[in-house]
Assembly symmetry: D3
Homo-oligomer: 67 residues x 6
C-alpha cells in the first residue's frame, strides 16, 4: 500500500528506464518492509530543467554554465 | 482552507469531468468538516501511463497485457 | 488507481470524519471517472496551524486575531 | 537541504521569473533558518487552469466569468 | 538531483529499515539513470492508519476486520 | 492562488521563523508573478531526521558523523 513519488528532471528517461525504477522501488519496499507489491503505487514526475532549482539556480542555467 | 491533490492517469478526462471532481471534493470538505469552499484548493495531476506504476509495472505495460 | 492527498489543519477531525472523507472521495472518483475503488488510495495530512499559511500569515495568528 | 514545491497555474511564467522564484526562496531559507543554498531544491509545477480549482470551480471557468 | 517521497503507514518501521530505504532508492536512481547520490533527496512520510484509505476505507478499519 | 510546500528537517524551527517563511514566500510570489497574497497557501512540513535522506544516508547518521 505504499505510495512513492519520484521527481527527476525531464532529460530523456526512456519507458524502459522508468519501468526499471517502478520495479526496483516496488521490490525494495517488499524486501525492506514486507509491503505488498500489488498495492504499491509509484508515480514519476519529469520536471523541465527551467522549473528545477538547486543552489539558487535553475538546472537550465547550471547546465549552460557546465555545472 | 484545505488543499487537495488528485493524481490520475492521463487517459482523456474532460474539462467537465475535472470540474465535477473539483466541485465534488469541495462539497465533501464543506459537508464533512465545515471547510469554507471559497478557500478550498484542488489540483488535479494527469500522469502519463508510462510514469504510473502499480504491482511493480507501468500502467502502459498492464494495459498492453489487458490487465 | 487514483491517488488523493487531502491536507487540512490539525483541529480535531475525528476518525469517523476522516473515514467519511476517504469514502466520499473514493465514491466521487468512481462516479465521475469510473475509477476502481479497490485501488484508490487516499492520504490525509493534518498540519499544525503554525505550519499553515494563507494571506501571508499562519493560521495560528489568524485564529488569534479572530479571522 | 530543504525541498520546496511551488505550484502555480500555467499562465506564461517566463524562465526569468521562474529563476527569480528559485533564487528568492533559496535566499529566504538561508536568511530565516540558515539553510545551505547548495542543497536547497526548488521544484515549480505549472498546472493547467482546467486542473486547478478554487471555490468549487476550475480557474478556467472563473477566468471566463471574469473572476 | 532527484527527489523521492515515500509514504507508508506508521506501523513501526525502524531507523535501520528507513536507512535501508534511503540507501536503496538512492542506489536505484544511480544505477538506472546515472543520478548523483550526493544530491539525491529522499523523504519518508509515516501516515497514521486512520489517515490512509484504500478501497474506500481507512487502514484502521481494514486491519480491525482482518483485511 | 499559488500553493507552496516547504519541507525541512524537524530541528527546532520556531513559530516566528515559520511565520517569516510564510510571509516571505507569499511576498515573493506577489512581487515576481503578481499573485494575490490573500489566496496564496503555504504548508510547512517538518520531517524527522531519521526520515530525511541525502547522499544515500539519513540526516541522523550524517549529523552523528559530523557532516
Amino acid at each position: 500500500m505504499p505510495y512513492v513519488n519520484i521527481k527527476i528532471t525531464r532529460e530523456g528517461a526512456t519507458p524502459e528506464q522508468k519501468a526499471e525504477l517502478i520495479a526496483g522501488v516496488t521490490d525494495l519496499l517488499r524486501d525492506v518492509l514486507g509491503k505488498n507489491p500489488a498495492t504499491t503505487v509509484v508515480v514519476i514526475d519529469e520536471v523541465d530543467t527551467d522549473n528545477w532549482g538547486i543552489g539558487g539556480e535553475s538546472v537550465t542555467v547550471r547546465r549552460a554554465r557546465g555545472s
